[in-house]
């Protein structure tokens, strides 16, 4: 038969401070103060991080709820889009509209230029006859 000699774990006997020498006592007190300070910093950092996360989530929620509200309006034949986005860095509607308006003006200007080409082509035959004759003597007659 095997018997075990079970003994409760020996508790570490802490030396009463009154029994410690004077130098050791002040060192322990300083250690406790450091521990308390460290705990305080950690709490502050946790609070800051929590606040940042809360603000971040709040911004995202607000942007999701309000940031995408887009209104369209009809001004004559021009496409007009305006946005109520709080901070719209995704798509500049006003710039898009301005670019489209400029493009439409260019298209109108092209119409004028093509008309100028047509007019000149109509004048071409008249100019042919003007430059191909000098006087009645028929010195130049290339027609």
């Amino acid at each position: 038969m095997v018997s075990f000699d079970i003994q409760p774990p020996r508790r570490r006997q802490s030396t009463p401070s009154s029994r410690l020498p004077l130098g050791n006592r002040s060192e322990k007190k300083a250690g406790q103060t450091r521990q308390q300070a460290s705990l305080g910093y950690k709490v502050i950092i946790k609070i800051i991080i929590a606040a940042l996360i809360t603000v971040g989530i709040g911004v995202i929620v607000i942007r999701l709820m309000l940031g995408k509200t887009t209104t369209f309006s009809n001004q004559g034949n021009n496409l007009s889009i305006s946005s109520q986005t709080i901070e719209d860095d995704i798509f500049d509607y006003n710039k898009w509209q301005t670019d489209f308006d400029t493009w439409q003006k260019d298209l109108q200007q092209n119409n004028i230029l093509i008309s100028t080409m047509v007019e000149f082509d109509n004048e071409r035959q008249k100019l042919d006859s003007i430059f191909n004759s000098i006087n009645n003597n028929g010195q130049i007659d290339k027609q």
């Binding site: 887009t70 496409l79 493009w103 092209n110 230029l113 000149f120 000098i134 006087n135």
Partner: protein, 252 residues
């Protein structure tokens, strides 16, 4: 009695002869003067005719010069229009060549315009020489006018195509994040037509580019006309694209 009669007869005969001689002499002088007068008149009339013809020539030449002055002014203003259009395109490929061509034509015609204005019409040779220069230059100018004008329009179309493509791409890019109001067409509704029009414009641009190269090489009017037809087609396609983009809001 008989002697007296003879003397009388001689006297009258002599008198008659004298009268005849005077009459003949007077007639000859008169005839000579008339002849001289007729010659003078003829000379004056011929001179007058020469002056009249010359004046007529001058008037006709003046009228021709005036038509040439207005023609030269038209040519200068035509090239000026295209030269102005080239300014905002500076930096694009081929613009400097077109600008040089336009400037050279403007300078040449402005110089001739000045000469035409100062032309002394009485010196026919000078006028004829100048007009000969204009006649020789005109076919080249006509070809250059085509090159410059169609070149500018083609360049503008190329830039406008890129801008148009960008406008569509931008709407496509943001579409997933856009909230459309009721009745508003989303871009995806026109996307298929949009791509079709853009492709049509791209192919027309490619064709116009080839035709432009052919037209400037051959300097033939029919090549230029063919290019002009393509440019007009391009303009129509651009208008269709504009309408399509604007139609996004028209279903409201």
């Amino acid at each position: 009695m008989v002697r007296l009669t003879n003397n009388k007869s001689i006297f009258f005969s002599s008198l008659i002869l004298l009268l005849i001689a005077i009459a003949v002499g007077a007639s000859t002088v008169s005839l000579s003067r008339w002849q001289q007068s007729r010659l003078n008149w003829q000379r004056d009339f011929t001179r007058w005719q020469t002056v009249a013809t010359s004046t007529d020539d001058i008037v006709k030449t003046e009228a021709l010069i005036k038509t040439k002055i207005s023609a030269a002014e038209l040519i200068v203003s035509y090239f000026q229009v295209w030269s102005d259009e080239l300014l905002p395109l500076s930096g694009e490929r081929g613009v400097s060549t077109l600008t040089k061509t336009a400037t050279s034509e403007i300078e040449w015609w402005q110089d001739k315009l000045r000469q035409l204005t100062l032309l002394d019409l009485t010196t026919v040779d000078q006028g004829d020489e100048l007009q000969q220069q204009l006649a020789d230059k005109w076919p080249t100018t006509r070809a250059k006018a085509w090159q410059v004008s169609s070149g500018v329009v083609l360049l503008r179309f190329k830039i406008m195509y890129e801008q148009l493509k960008g406008l569509g791409d931008e709407l496509k890019r943001v579409e997933p994040s856009l909230t459309y109001p009721v009745g508003w067409q989303p871009f995806s509704a026109i996307d298929s037509q949009w791509r079709q029009i853009l492709e049509q414009i791209r192919l027309s641009l490619q064709l116009a580019d080839e035709q432009w190269q052919a037209a400037i090489t051959s300097n033939r009017l029919d090549d230029a006309q063919r290019l002009f037809y393509t440019l007009q087609q391009l303009q129509q396609s651009m208008i269709s694209a504009q309408k399509l983009l604007s139609s996004l809001q028209q279903s409201q």
